[in-house]
Symmetry: C2
Subunit: 121 residues, 2 copies
């Protein structure tokens, strides 16, 4: 076991791409990821996993077919598996994601373009 | 599905007990918990789950049989399952924990006193 701590701010400084979650840790069969997001994502759902959104910096809106939630820094929301959602951020927002390892961010939105995301920083 | 966000600071304001993790969210078969800790905990390990420590406020040291890590605000560490550890905080430290649901904080330290922790806030 290594004794390296994971510093969230330092990890964010290692990438600038948006909508490209980076894995920072694994816990059991789950991954903890960081992402920078801005603008509209696609409608999608994840049939095999709940997904936790935790805002590190900025503001995130998650739209559902029947409502929406707005998250500020230090706020969290769990999107249950199977529920269609569309993240949106007017300005760049830094988020932490928790979900089952192997989850692709577009879920079932377009299976023809799904690639395995396994991008550690 | 409810549309209530989980605000970490508000959740911490709902309890003051130390060493008494409170569940704030479930993701798949895992729980996200908050805890206030101060002083020394007991040596223990969790044979069935990795455990993530994420410091929200303060400073946390985790001792291992062969070393230690010190975490500051915004820093995280994953203690692998089966690894003996002992958390310590000189002053009160606020942490977020991620682990398999049903995990008791003392792990295998004293099975005669293990009670199921299922304390939501």
């Amino acid at each position: 076991m290594g004794l390296n701590t994971i510093n969230i701010k330092e990890k964010f400084n290692k990438f600038s791409e948006q909508w490209s979650p980076k894995i920072i840790a694994q816990m059991n069969d789950h991954h903890i990821k960081l992402a920078r997001i801005e603008g509209d994502f696609v409608w999608h759902s994840h049939k095999d996993t709940d997904e936790v959104f935790f805002v590190i910096e900025g503001e995130l809106r998650i739209d559902f077919r029947d409502g929406s939630v707005t998250l500020h820094e230090g706020e969290m929301f769990v999107v249950p598996k199977g529920v269609e959602h569309k993240p949106f951020a007017e300005n760049e927002c830094k988020i932490m994601l928790l979900e089952r390892a192997g989850t692709v961010s577009t879920g079932d939105a377009d299976s023809s373009t799904i690639i395995e995301e396994n991008d550690w920083i």
